[in-house]
Symmetry: C3
């Protein structure tokens, strides 16, 4: 069983959910009413944080699980935890200014690529054996 990977999956979902709640909060603060998705830079940055996190979910979750199944539950969960930390740093940076979104983005990107590349290597190894 993959208890640690399951736990990290649920925590990743929880953080992503938090970025969605933050968009609702930004609507109230800035007065941008649904269905409009632009009109105030603070709202637009909050929306972009959520969207970018959403955009990475179908990369990270399948790569995380394939890594767990083909390599290791604990290492997958560790890299998944690094991804969440990178996402938190990205959220804090981008919430201040668009120019401050770099470091968090890099951390989560490296963790995601490590999960993807590890899983790909392990799958290829099984296919050629």
């Amino acid at each position: 069983m993959y208890h640690l990977t399951a736990l990290v999956t649920l925590l990743a979902i929880a953080f992503y959910f938090f970025t969605s709640l933050n968009v609702s909060r930004a609507r109230t603060k800035t007065g941008v009413k649904a269905p409009a998705m632009s009109g105030h830079p603070d709202f637009e940055r909050a929306f972009r944080v959520q969207m970018n996190t959403l955009e990475w979910m179908p990369i990270v979750l399948p790569a995380l699980w394939l890594f767990a199944v083909y390599i290791s539950d604990a290492i997958a969960a560790g890299l998944g935890a690094v991804w969440i930390v990178g996402r938190v740093v990205y959220f804090v940076g981008y919430s201040k200014a668009a120019a401050k979104r770099g470091p968090g983005f890099a951390i989560q990107g490296i963790a995601a690529i490590a999960l993807w590349a590890g899983a790909l290597g392990a799958v290829m190894l099984r296919l050629v054996k």
Copy 2:
């Protein structure tokens, strides 16, 4: 095996696909041409219904499956069915007016949080045992 959860997954995908088709239909009706994503409130509401459903997919599908694996296929499928019903109510309400999107959103949100919280509790219980 998790036949009921598999069935509910495919039905959730089908409803989400229907919200996407509805965006194409709204393009034709309102004359908003691709790649533009705004220009008419009816089109924007149809797009927001699809986007919001998309935004919840990476919350609901992993939580649904972890709930099924850790707790019960039938209960997971039942909560997943409630989520789909909430999404249908949300679609009908939001299609009429942005102000009518509340009740459906609440139903699907409660179902999603129940799936997430149940899965988290069950995973934690396994990790401490």
Copy 3:
């Protein structure tokens, strides 16, 4: 084990990731700065290609895996490969002009619906038996 489906999943993720990188490249080329998501038709088309690919991920990935588990790893992987080819054709067409996005969209849509319908049929068969 589902080695071929795992491989196709990782390739699908890689292509989707490439469409995201292409949005960053389009930002640089057209001068549309984050968090803005509009302002130049070339940027908007690049963004729509990524968004549309993202929109189909929660349809294709679960349908692909349910098809693999309930029917066949090799056939699932084959249909998944057709989906990726359709997505590449869609990317090339839409990058030139919005009017050229049709053929690629049709190919990937047929592959996705085949995965979904096959999985649904197989799940229903198991449930009634």
